[in-house]
Symmetry: none
Subunit: 152 residues, 2 copies
DNA sequence: CGCCATTGGTCAAATAAAGTCAAATTTCAA
DNA sequence: TTGAAATTTGACTTTATTTGACCAATGGCG
Protein backbone atom coordinates (compact mmCIF):
# COMPACT_ATOMS: atom_id res chain seq x y z
CA UNK A 1 0.00 0.00 0.00
CA UNK A 2 1.25 3.44 -0.89
CA UNK A 3 2.39 5.72 1.87
CA UNK A 4 -0.26 8.25 0.96
CA UNK A 5 -2.88 5.61 1.56
CA UNK A 6 -1.48 4.70 4.94
CA UNK A 7 -1.52 8.32 6.00
CA UNK A 8 -5.04 8.61 4.68
CA UNK A 9 -6.10 5.64 6.78
CA UNK A 10 -4.46 7.13 9.82
CA UNK A 11 -6.27 10.41 9.42
CA UNK A 12 -9.56 8.61 8.81
CA UNK A 13 -9.00 6.81 12.06
CA UNK A 14 -8.45 10.09 13.86
CA UNK A 15 -11.62 11.46 12.36
CA UNK A 16 -13.54 8.40 13.52
CA UNK A 17 -12.27 8.65 17.05
CA UNK A 18 -12.84 12.37 17.40
CA UNK A 19 -16.23 12.49 15.86
CA UNK A 20 -15.33 14.28 12.68
CA UNK A 21 -12.48 16.56 13.64
CA UNK A 22 -8.80 15.71 13.46
CA UNK A 23 -6.17 18.13 14.57
CA UNK A 24 -2.63 17.25 13.67
CA UNK A 25 0.82 18.67 13.45
CA UNK A 26 2.31 18.35 10.07
CA UNK A 27 5.91 17.68 11.04
CA UNK A 28 4.74 15.30 13.73
CA UNK A 29 2.82 13.21 11.28
CA UNK A 30 5.65 13.39 8.77
CA UNK A 31 7.99 12.11 11.46
CA UNK A 32 5.69 9.25 12.31
CA UNK A 33 5.63 8.11 8.70
CA UNK A 34 9.24 9.00 7.89
CA UNK A 35 8.34 11.21 4.99
CA UNK A 36 8.66 14.78 3.84
CA UNK A 37 6.27 17.17 5.58
CA UNK A 38 4.86 18.27 2.27
CA UNK A 39 3.66 14.72 1.80
CA UNK A 40 0.99 15.55 4.34
CA UNK A 41 -0.15 18.45 2.22
CA UNK A 42 -0.34 16.14 -0.73
CA UNK A 43 -2.52 13.68 1.15
CA UNK A 44 -4.79 16.39 2.41
CA UNK A 45 -5.22 18.04 -0.94
CA UNK A 46 -5.91 14.78 -2.73
CA UNK A 47 -7.99 12.95 -0.11
CA UNK A 48 -9.50 15.52 2.17
CA UNK A 49 -10.31 18.35 -0.18
CA UNK A 50 -13.38 20.52 0.29
CA UNK A 51 -15.09 18.94 -2.69
CA UNK A 52 -14.74 15.65 -0.87
CA UNK A 53 -16.58 17.04 2.09
CA UNK A 54 -13.84 18.26 4.37
CA UNK A 55 -12.98 21.61 5.82
CA UNK A 56 -9.28 22.37 6.25
CA UNK A 57 -7.98 25.00 8.63
CA UNK A 58 -4.40 25.58 9.65
CA UNK A 59 -2.03 27.87 11.41
CA UNK A 60 1.69 28.34 10.93
CA UNK A 61 4.30 29.27 13.50
CA UNK A 62 4.75 28.07 17.03
CA UNK A 63 1.94 25.82 18.12
CA UNK A 64 0.82 25.50 14.54
CA UNK A 65 -1.61 22.81 13.42
CA UNK A 66 -3.75 21.46 10.63
CA UNK A 67 -7.37 20.78 11.43
CA UNK A 68 -9.50 18.58 9.22
CA UNK A 69 -13.23 18.61 9.76
CA UNK A 70 -15.61 16.27 8.03
CA UNK A 71 -18.63 18.25 7.02
CA UNK A 72 -21.82 16.35 7.08
CA UNK A 73 -22.15 15.44 3.43
CA UNK A 74 -25.83 15.14 4.09
CA UNK A 75 -26.22 18.65 5.42
CA UNK A 76 -27.40 19.87 2.09
CA UNK A 77 -29.79 17.01 1.62
CA UNK A 78 -31.11 17.25 5.15
CA UNK A 79 -31.98 20.86 4.51
CA UNK A 80 -33.48 20.02 1.15
CA UNK A 81 -35.53 17.32 2.74
CA UNK A 82 -36.82 19.72 5.35
CA UNK A 83 -37.82 22.21 2.70
CA UNK A 84 -39.70 19.54 0.82
CA UNK A 85 -41.37 18.15 3.92
CA UNK A 86 -43.00 21.41 4.84
CA UNK A 87 -46.32 21.89 3.13
CA UNK A 88 -48.35 25.03 2.48
CA UNK A 89 -48.63 25.88 6.14
CA UNK A 90 -46.94 25.05 9.42
CA UNK A 91 -47.52 26.01 13.03
CA UNK A 92 -44.89 27.42 15.36
CA UNK A 93 -44.47 24.24 17.33
CA UNK A 94 -43.78 22.13 14.26
CA UNK A 95 -41.38 24.66 12.82
CA UNK A 96 -39.48 24.68 16.10
CA UNK A 97 -39.32 20.88 16.06
CA UNK A 98 -37.96 20.87 12.51
CA UNK A 99 -35.38 23.43 13.52
CA UNK A 100 -34.31 21.51 16.60
CA UNK A 101 -33.87 18.37 14.54
CA UNK A 102 -31.74 20.13 11.95
CA UNK A 103 -29.64 21.71 14.68
CA UNK A 104 -29.15 18.39 16.36
CA UNK A 105 -28.10 16.82 13.07
CA UNK A 106 -25.55 19.59 12.64
CA UNK A 107 -27.28 20.76 9.51
CA UNK A 108 -27.72 24.19 11.06
CA UNK A 109 -25.38 26.25 13.21
CA UNK A 110 -26.55 27.57 16.52
CA UNK A 111 -27.01 31.00 15.09
CA UNK A 112 -28.87 29.80 12.05
CA UNK A 113 -31.21 27.85 14.27
CA UNK A 114 -31.79 30.84 16.53
CA UNK A 115 -32.65 33.05 13.61
CA UNK A 116 -34.95 30.45 12.14
CA UNK A 117 -36.72 30.14 15.47
CA UNK A 118 -37.06 33.90 15.73
CA UNK A 119 -38.50 34.19 12.25
CA UNK A 120 -41.02 31.40 12.67
CA UNK A 121 -42.12 32.38 16.16
CA UNK A 122 -45.68 33.41 16.80
CA UNK A 123 -44.24 36.54 18.28
CA UNK A 124 -42.68 37.64 15.03
CA UNK A 125 -45.78 36.80 13.04
CA UNK A 126 -48.23 38.34 15.49
CA UNK A 127 -49.58 40.89 12.97
CA UNK A 128 -50.72 38.14 10.62
CA UNK A 129 -54.05 36.48 11.43
CA UNK A 130 -54.61 32.76 11.01
CA UNK A 131 -54.77 30.88 8.74
CA UNK A 132 -52.55 33.28 6.83
CA UNK A 133 -50.01 33.16 9.59
CA UNK A 134 -49.15 29.49 9.18
CA UNK A 135 -48.96 29.91 5.44
CA UNK A 136 -46.54 32.80 5.81
CA UNK A 137 -44.53 30.85 8.34
CA UNK A 138 -44.10 27.94 5.92
CA UNK A 139 -43.02 30.38 3.27
CA UNK A 140 -40.46 32.03 5.52
CA UNK A 141 -39.16 28.73 6.76
CA UNK A 142 -38.47 27.54 3.25
CA UNK A 143 -36.96 30.81 2.17
CA UNK A 144 -34.49 30.82 5.01
CA UNK A 145 -33.46 27.21 4.45
CA UNK A 146 -33.08 27.76 0.74
CA UNK A 147 -30.88 30.77 1.41
CA UNK A 148 -28.69 28.71 3.68
CA UNK A 149 -28.47 25.92 1.11
CA UNK A 150 -27.62 28.41 -1.58
CA UNK A 151 -24.73 29.78 0.41
CA UNK A 152 -23.34 26.44 1.54
CA UNK B 1 -1.71 24.68 22.42
CA UNK B 2 0.66 27.60 21.96
CA UNK B 3 1.58 29.77 24.90
CA UNK B 4 0.01 32.78 23.24
CA UNK B 5 -3.27 30.95 23.10
CA UNK B 6 -3.15 30.02 26.75
CA UNK B 7 -2.50 33.59 27.73
CA UNK B 8 -5.34 34.67 25.48
CA UNK B 9 -7.65 32.23 27.22
CA UNK B 10 -6.58 33.52 30.58
CA UNK B 11 -7.31 37.10 29.66
CA UNK B 12 -10.65 36.16 28.13
CA UNK B 13 -11.51 34.52 31.41
CA UNK B 14 -10.65 37.70 33.27
CA UNK B 15 -12.79 39.71 30.91
CA UNK B 16 -15.68 37.34 31.42
CA UNK B 17 -15.46 37.50 35.18
CA UNK B 18 -15.12 41.25 35.35
CA UNK B 19 -17.76 42.01 32.82
CA UNK B 20 -15.55 43.39 30.08
CA UNK B 21 -12.60 44.92 31.88
CA UNK B 22 -9.39 43.17 32.78
CA UNK B 23 -6.63 44.92 34.62
CA UNK B 24 -3.33 43.12 34.79
CA UNK B 25 0.31 43.59 35.57
CA UNK B 26 2.56 42.68 32.74
CA UNK B 27 5.45 41.18 34.68
CA UNK B 28 3.00 39.36 36.90
CA UNK B 29 1.36 37.62 33.99
CA UNK B 30 4.72 36.92 32.41
CA UNK B 31 5.82 35.30 35.66
CA UNK B 32 2.70 33.21 35.84
CA UNK B 33 3.33 31.84 32.36
CA UNK B 34 7.12 31.72 32.58
CA UNK B 35 7.66 33.87 29.53
CA UNK B 36 9.19 37.16 28.50
CA UNK B 37 7.12 40.18 29.50
CA UNK B 38 6.98 41.32 25.92
CA UNK B 39 5.06 38.15 25.18
CA UNK B 40 2.14 39.82 26.88
CA UNK B 41 2.40 42.77 24.53
CA UNK B 42 2.44 40.36 21.64
CA UNK B 43 -0.72 38.65 22.80
CA UNK B 44 -2.46 41.94 23.37
CA UNK B 45 -1.53 43.37 20.02
CA UNK B 46 -2.51 40.25 18.10
CA UNK B 47 -5.63 39.23 20.02
CA UNK B 48 -7.00 42.27 21.76
CA UNK B 49 -6.32 45.01 19.28
CA UNK B 50 -8.68 47.95 18.86
CA UNK B 51 -9.85 46.66 15.49
CA UNK B 52 -10.93 43.53 17.32
CA UNK B 53 -13.06 45.59 19.63
CA UNK B 54 -10.86 46.23 22.62
CA UNK B 55 -9.56 49.35 24.28
CA UNK B 56 -6.08 49.17 25.75
CA UNK B 57 -4.86 51.55 28.43
CA UNK B 58 -1.69 51.27 30.47
CA UNK B 59 0.53 52.98 32.91
CA UNK B 60 4.19 52.50 33.69
CA UNK B 61 6.11 52.91 36.90
CA UNK B 62 5.15 51.87 40.39
CA UNK B 63 1.68 50.45 40.52
CA UNK B 64 1.65 50.24 36.74
CA UNK B 65 -0.98 48.21 34.90
CA UNK B 66 -2.47 47.26 31.59
CA UNK B 67 -6.21 47.56 31.29
CA UNK B 68 -8.13 45.82 28.55
CA UNK B 69 -11.70 46.85 27.97
CA UNK B 70 -14.04 45.12 25.61
CA UNK B 71 -16.00 47.61 23.58
CA UNK B 72 -18.92 45.91 21.95
CA UNK B 73 -20.57 49.23 21.58
CA UNK B 74 -20.14 49.65 17.87
CA UNK B 75 -21.73 46.57 16.34
CA UNK B 76 -24.26 46.22 19.06
CA UNK B 77 -25.31 49.82 18.97
CA UNK B 78 -25.50 49.87 15.20
CA UNK B 79 -27.92 46.98 15.31
CA UNK B 80 -29.84 48.53 18.17
CA UNK B 81 -30.06 51.73 16.28
CA UNK B 82 -31.42 49.95 13.24
CA UNK B 83 -34.06 48.24 15.33
CA UNK B 84 -35.14 51.53 16.81
CA UNK B 85 -35.16 53.30 13.48
CA UNK B 86 -37.65 50.97 11.93
CA UNK B 87 -41.22 51.92 12.67
CA UNK B 88 -44.40 49.90 12.53
CA UNK B 89 -44.01 49.03 8.88
CA UNK B 90 -41.29 48.91 6.24
CA UNK B 91 -41.22 48.07 2.55
CA UNK B 92 -38.86 45.58 0.97
CA UNK B 93 -36.64 48.20 -0.62
CA UNK B 94 -36.02 50.04 2.64
CA UNK B 95 -35.36 46.83 4.51
CA UNK B 96 -32.81 45.87 1.87
CA UNK B 97 -31.15 49.28 2.19
CA UNK B 98 -30.92 48.93 5.95
CA UNK B 99 -29.43 45.49 5.54
CA UNK B 100 -26.88 46.64 3.00
CA UNK B 101 -25.79 49.44 5.29
CA UNK B 102 -25.35 47.14 8.24
CA UNK B 103 -23.41 44.69 6.12
CA UNK B 104 -21.18 47.44 4.87
CA UNK B 105 -20.53 48.60 8.42
CA UNK B 106 -19.57 45.05 9.33
CA UNK B 107 -22.38 44.87 11.82
CA UNK B 108 -23.73 41.86 9.95
CA UNK B 109 -21.94 38.90 8.40
CA UNK B 110 -22.58 37.95 4.80
CA UNK B 111 -24.78 35.09 5.85
CA UNK B 112 -26.74 37.13 8.34
CA UNK B 113 -27.39 39.72 5.66
CA UNK B 114 -28.49 37.07 3.17
CA UNK B 115 -30.93 35.59 5.63
CA UNK B 116 -32.28 38.99 6.55
CA UNK B 117 -32.78 39.79 2.89
CA UNK B 118 -34.55 36.48 2.33
CA UNK B 119 -36.86 37.00 5.26
CA UNK B 120 -37.80 40.55 4.35
CA UNK B 121 -38.22 39.90 0.65
CA UNK B 122 -41.59 40.35 -1.00
CA UNK B 123 -41.17 36.83 -2.23
CA UNK B 124 -41.12 35.37 1.25
CA UNK B 125 -44.06 37.49 2.36
CA UNK B 126 -46.14 36.95 -0.75
CA UNK B 127 -49.06 35.34 1.14
CA UNK B 128 -49.56 38.44 3.26
CA UNK B 129 -51.57 41.27 1.68
CA UNK B 130 -50.70 44.92 2.16
CA UNK B 131 -50.66 46.80 4.43
CA UNK B 132 -50.22 43.82 6.71
CA UNK B 133 -47.19 42.73 4.74
CA UNK B 134 -45.08 45.78 5.58
CA UNK B 135 -46.09 45.54 9.19
CA UNK B 136 -45.07 41.89 9.32
CA UNK B 137 -41.81 42.72 7.59
CA UNK B 138 -40.96 45.31 10.19
CA UNK B 139 -41.71 42.80 12.87
CA UNK B 140 -39.52 40.13 11.30
CA UNK B 141 -36.73 42.56 10.65
CA UNK B 142 -36.62 43.56 14.29
CA UNK B 143 -36.91 40.02 15.55
CA UNK B 144 -33.98 38.85 13.46
CA UNK B 145 -31.79 41.76 14.51
CA UNK B 146 -32.69 41.30 18.14
CA UNK B 147 -31.81 37.64 17.90
CA UNK B 148 -28.43 38.54 16.47
CA UNK B 149 -27.84 41.12 19.16
CA UNK B 150 -28.84 38.68 21.84
CA UNK B 151 -26.32 36.13 20.62
CA UNK B 152 -23.42 38.55 20.18
C1' DC C 1 14.13 69.53 42.46
C1' DG C 2 16.62 65.54 40.85
C1' DC C 3 17.84 60.66 41.37
C1' DC C 4 16.44 55.99 40.76
C1' DA C 5 13.73 51.88 41.34
C1' DT C 6 9.75 50.10 39.19
C1' DT C 7 7.00 49.33 35.47
C1' DG C 8 5.44 49.02 30.79
C1' DG C 9 6.82 49.69 25.35
C1' DT C 10 9.38 48.66 21.02
C1' DC C 11 11.77 46.25 17.87
C1' DA C 12 14.47 42.97 15.70
C1' DA C 13 16.49 38.38 15.82
C1' DA C 14 15.76 33.51 16.60
C1' DT C 15 12.77 29.78 16.31
C1' DA C 16 8.79 27.01 14.96
C1' DA C 17 5.46 25.72 12.03
C1' DA C 18 2.90 25.28 7.67
C1' DG C 19 2.53 26.29 2.26
C1' DT C 20 4.15 26.00 -2.60
C1' DC C 21 6.05 24.13 -6.48
C1' DA C 22 8.49 21.52 -9.51
C1' DA C 23 11.69 17.73 -10.25
C1' DA C 24 12.30 12.80 -9.54
C1' DT C 25 10.27 8.48 -9.00
C1' DT C 26 6.86 4.92 -9.02
C1' DT C 27 2.58 2.74 -10.50
C1' DC C 28 -0.82 1.36 -13.64
C1' DA C 29 -3.51 0.73 -17.54
C1' DA C 30 -3.74 0.44 -22.58
C1' DT D 1 6.25 -1.82 -23.10
C1' DT D 2 5.31 2.74 -22.60
C1' DG D 3 3.26 7.00 -21.47
C1' DA D 4 0.22 9.31 -18.35
C1' DA D 5 -1.14 9.80 -13.76
C1' DA D 6 -0.09 9.41 -9.02
C1' DT D 7 3.24 9.71 -5.49
C1' DT D 8 7.40 11.20 -3.10
C1' DT D 9 10.93 14.42 -2.05
C1' DG D 10 13.26 18.59 -1.00
C1' DA D 11 14.42 23.44 -1.71
C1' DC D 12 12.49 27.68 -0.91
C1' DT D 13 8.65 30.86 0.93
C1' DT D 14 5.45 32.71 4.17
C1' DT D 15 3.52 33.27 8.60
C1' DA D 16 3.30 33.03 13.68
C1' DT D 17 5.47 32.82 18.04
C1' DT D 18 9.05 33.53 21.49
C1' DT D 19 12.85 35.88 23.49
C1' DG D 20 15.90 39.46 24.88
C1' DA D 21 18.22 43.84 24.65
C1' DC D 22 17.33 48.43 25.04
C1' DC D 23 14.01 52.56 25.64
C1' DA D 24 10.49 55.52 28.10
C1' DA D 25 7.37 56.90 31.68
C1' DT D 26 5.95 57.24 36.60
C1' DG D 27 6.15 57.86 41.39
C1' DG D 28 8.58 57.99 45.72
C1' DC D 29 12.37 59.67 48.38
C1' DG D 30 16.29 62.35 49.88
Amino acid sequence: MALSDEITLFIRELLQQSDGVAELQRSDLAGRFHCAPSQINYVISTRFAPEQGYLIESRRGGGGYIRITRIQASTRSLLMHAVNSVGQHIDARSAAAFTANLLHADALSGEQASLLLAVTSDNALRPVPQPLRDITRANLFKHVLLTIIERS
